[in-house]
Symmetry: C2
Subunit: 396 residues, 2 copies
């Protein structure tokens, strides 16, 4: 695709979402499915280098490149040729079933991929569909309404689609130049040239095609939401002090739909469970015993092992408490100022570090308010992942 509808110069599959090209999200989604052996990407000669850089930077395995054609169908045909036994690319072998997908549909999930593949094995071809959002009409030559289609009787054809390789390859070999130049529907080629009636599979709304600038906004919001679904609270005390317990409770409220786990690293820095490091993009580090960043630095050390930061910006919020009648606010701010340097360091590794100072009064109700405000600030920082605010010290 060349993304002319995006209103931006870059082809839309290369547009950055959270600093990462859209196509990398789609590749990641496909590679996360273990039974997908190879992923073939059709790319223009101008974009080949950029694509290779993306594959390397985001460590995409199983991806091969072929040169794209001047139309969608010609690009797909090139991809199929590369997979065919007599294909030029020797490290690829002809599959029983081939999936066709768009680089600009980053949210495809194993579930629907499995459904179309199983249906393809049975019917020879299958594709995801969605209900129509708008009524479809047919204009007459003079730009007036000729007729409109009954919305309920039609569907939008989406991706992914799956085919028995021999079926779709034969279809492309036999179809006309007109098909290759003006056609848009692979299922139609399978029907026309192999008499294969594709099975239609109801897909989820997330299969939508990122087409306009607003879709980029939506994609970013969806990704941010997804990586904020798991929060890990790390603290330097085993037994919950009053305000720590209160904060955890309120964070669970702020992240109703997220899985909030709590783990005491403790003075002796027990490691975080692997699974957390492999899945969690949002960390809250509560410092009670150590008033400085000792604990936070331990956490950051652990996060170095996390490969997640290649794909997503990780958020770490270092929470500190200040009793009203203790050391002055100003001094405390001075003490915590080093977070700026710390943040600058870890930002290079795609970790966004923020500080939060919760000033808590003895008075119960006020404490509730302050900690609640702190939880709201933490939620805002995690949900927005704003790099410009990394290194800031916020106050509740």
């Amino acid at each position: 695709g060349c993304g002319e509808r995006m209103g931006v110069p870059t082809p839309k599959q290369f547009c950055l979402v959270l600093e990462r090209p859209l196509i990398s999200y789609a590749l990641q989604a496909l590679e996360s499915v273990h039974w997908i052996e190879d992923v073939v990407v059709a790319v223009t000669r101008e974009n080949t280098e950029a694509m290779e850089a993306i594959i390397q930077r985001y460590q995409h395995k199983r991806v091969s490149l072929v040169e794209s054609g001047v139309t969608r169908h010609r690009s797909i045909f090139n991809g199929l040729r590369a997979l065919a036994e007599d294909g030029p690319d020797t490290k690829l072998s002809k599959p029983e079933v081939v999936i066709i997908h768009d680089a600009v549909r980053p949210f495809v999930e194993e579930d629907v991929l499995l459904k179309v593949v199983i249906a393809a094995k049975e019917h020879g071809a299958a594709g995801a569909i969605r209900p129509l959002v708008s009524t479809v009409i047919s204009p007459s030559a003079d730009g007036c309404l000729d007729h409109s289609l009954e919305r309920a009787r039609y569907k939008a054809s989406e991706m992914p689609q799956a085919f028995l390789f021999d079926v779709i390859y034969k279809a492309y070999q036999q179809c006309s130049d007109y098909d290759l130049d003006f056609g848009t529907e692979c299922l139609q080629l399978a029907l026309q040239y192999c008499q294969t009636k594709a099975k239609l599979v109801e897909g989820s709304p997330d299969l939508w095609k990122v087409t306009y600038k607003r879709d980029l906004y939506a994609a970013e919001a969806v990704i941010k939401e997804r990586i904020s679904q798991q929060i890990c609270i790390v603290k330097d005390v085993k037994e919950d002090g009053e305000h720590v317990g209160l904060l955890e409770e309120m964070l669970k409220n702020e992240f109703k739909h997220a899985d909030v786990t709590s783990k005491a690293l403790g003075p002796a820095a027990g490691d975080l469970p692997r699974v957390t490091l492999e899945r969690c993009c949002s960390f809250v580090c509560v410092n009670v015993m150590n008033s400085d960043f000792h604990e936070t630095q331990k956490l950051l050390k652990l996060l170095e092992d996390s490969h997640l930061s290649i794909f997503y910006p990780l958020v770490v919020i270092s929470v500190h408490f200040l009793a009203y009648n203790s050391v002055s606010f100003g001094e405390k701010m001075e003490d915590l100022r080093q977070i700026r340097e710390l943040a600058k360091e870890v930002k290079k590794r795609n970790i966004l570090l923020y500080g939060l100072l919760i000033c808590y009064p003895q008075e119960e109700l006020k404490l509730q308010q302050r900690v609640g405000q702190g939880a709201a600030i933490i939620a805002a920082l995690i949900k927005e992942r704003n790099p410009s605010l990394a290194g800031q010290l916020l106050v509740a």
Copy 2:
């Protein structure tokens, strides 16, 4: 609409975007067009009270309510009846041309409204269209592909649509119950029952219908982008001090597509031009002479007159400078701490106040960096308008 596709309980036209119901944006867009006389909203009995509250809170004029029907067509028919001479609602009079629009298309602009109305006067009916994003297919009874439509030969029918009132009213009076219960296309009714061939008008992508949760995300991002298109820098010095000039310059870089104006309120608080107060949602208040919030409070006073805060959260960023070798950072933070109370006050009026302290070293290059970082923080605060961070004091 009942918003079942949104995956949220609230009907989607009532979903909040920046704390304000989506439908209010659509009403605002229609009311901003002076030649639109009346806006009739079809609403269910359960939602009538909520709708009346919205009309009052957001000061919508020219809006009348009618009870909605069980289907889209029946709701529209009720709306037309209210406009017909013999309509029950006496304060409405029968128009020559009627526009039909969706509450969930908030970004409709005068330009396309004018186009469909002019076309309707000439052809009797007109509607906005968009190219199809996905290929449209027709499934067979067994859930397989029957045939696919050639994408280029069809269009998506969008809103707004416009009609000579007599044409569309007659069409609704004559159409069948089947049409009213299962039809989706007003243009089709005009064609079928009045032999009126609607003129099709190419619409902008912004006409899209907010349908899924992701569309709400997109709508919010689009609105935030729009209200960040104009930035007003207010300062307490006429002649630009070095760092003030530098900051303005860098803000112009951060907001490449925004119109950044700069105005010195000065010690004698010259008012801001009305037009600024009527259009601008983003203010940067640079305090050089007064190190406290004296200037900021003057600005906030002026903003009380701005009605914009009824519709959008206004952002005010109070910028302060701290020379390295002057008063200590901690003391300065103490001094500026009162911003919390100030912010709490103005938040009630939908104004989000943030503080920014720029610590500037004498050394030229470092100064550049610091001020640049300050500009980036300002840009981030304005673009995100995060209420949870209001009252925070950020440091560059």
